[in-house]
Symmetry: none
Amino acid sequence: MASGDVASTAKAKYLQIADDLAAQIHSGALPAGAPVPSESELMQRYGVASGTVRKAVAELRTTQLIETHHGRGSFVRSRPPVQRKSSDRFRRSHRKAGKAAYLAEAEQSGGKPSVKVLFIGPAEAPEDIAERLGVPAGAQVLARKRRYFRDGVPTEEATSYLPWDVVRDIPETFAENPGGGGIYARLEEHGHTLAEFTETVRARLATKAEAAALALSPGSPVIHLVRNAMTESGQVVEVCDTVMAADQFVLDYRFAAKD
Amino acid sequence: MASGDVASTAKAKYLQIADDLAAQIHSGALPAGAPVPSESELMQRYGVASGTVRKAVAELRTTQLIETHHGRGSFVRSRPPVQRKSSDRFRRSHRKAGKAAYLAEAEQSGGKPSVKVLFIGPAEAPEDIAERLGVPAGAQVLARKRRYFRDGVPTEEATSYLPWDVVRDIPETFAENPGGGGIYARLEEHGHTLAEFTETVRARLATKAEAAALALSPGSPVIHLVRNAMTESGQVVEVCDTVMAADQFVLDYRFAAKD
DNA sequence: CAGTGGTCTAGACCACTGT
DNA sequence: CAGTGGTCTAGACCACTGG
């Protein structure tokens, strides 16, 4: 039998199936965490080919209603509470109390934070990073790439870049755990007194790689934040490039109505 | 011939094709506005079936590199320069120079800004807004809803809420154009000296309504920003709720490494 | 191992666009 | 009209997960 004979109906079959499943989710027939029927099950139930079912499921994924795990199945998403990132998180008093910025933050949002170090070592500075650091493009810098989790779920991935001249004499910056107060505390101990941070915030859709790293469904939005840490002498001693799952974070900023 | 024999390669074919086309776009071989080769052309060129080419093209679409028009083809998107929103945009000196925040900002980003007033008048404060303003939920406030354009393209939609007690004696706040320096200048002229702004930033996918208002394709990300304007006396005299097309804006913040 | 989703083929027909 | 993308089929093999 031919196939395109369905495209003439008002709505595409795969959208009808997606709508049907979405309705079941919203009605509670498919509660949060419940498995979505398997593809073969759906093929039978709706009498369509595999490709059609897959498009329907893909639709639900991009609308964030379900998440899919290869080999296990698709499951109705539950929306966890978001984390807040306030510009207060870099308060010097937090550093002195021995807390790194991430922990100082995660502490307030209920949930067990954890960090996985992906890479620490010398690297060539990407062009935009080099420009921010005030070093030649391709110059050697220290890169520190980490992935952060809350309750075991990946939420953000951050790469810090520090000029080689700055870190050369600070062995802790090469350690997985730089000690109480984090990298910023070590920098200040070595005379790099921090004066100002600047953050650049963008939002966009996750790339394939980011979606994989953060366990996001394709089409999920991410927040892309790049922060410069500048010392009193005006040198940028760190640039931190962070990609966050957008549904996990709220950013808070406070600033004066200055002249 | 079988087919799955390709899935065993490191990368999926459709992603390789997408990457290849993306490289051509970034290199300029496929400049902005240029048509992407048709699907049948790509099938021949890469020696794959239609479905594979379609998945590659879909990939480029979700990464915003191209846009597709049924019956005409796919075309390389031109990325208009993004607008920057820095926390400097509320500098009092800008207000005194007679510039509203939006124009002070848009001025630097090349492109003709315009504003359309959607609504100005009394309204019941939504719960979250009322809480920020420190008024009872449902209390009457002044709402000012505007849509902003650049070069005729809608980029953001903002609704300001001001307590009735504050605006009652400031007739300009009811005008479509509140005069040089905008609402904030009028507030300060009437004794509400602004001391501090706080902004809350979220990113998420556009709702259907937002996609329509901002002429976005479904699944596009937006930045949702809510700002409190607080006076020296500690009163929140305005809450501004803004939804921006994420690909049109970069947010800049600067803050001290305070104690 | 069986069951799941992921990729791919080689076609088909339909709907939209422009000449 | 020819050419474009959009939907769909009925299979195939691969990769991942869990018992």
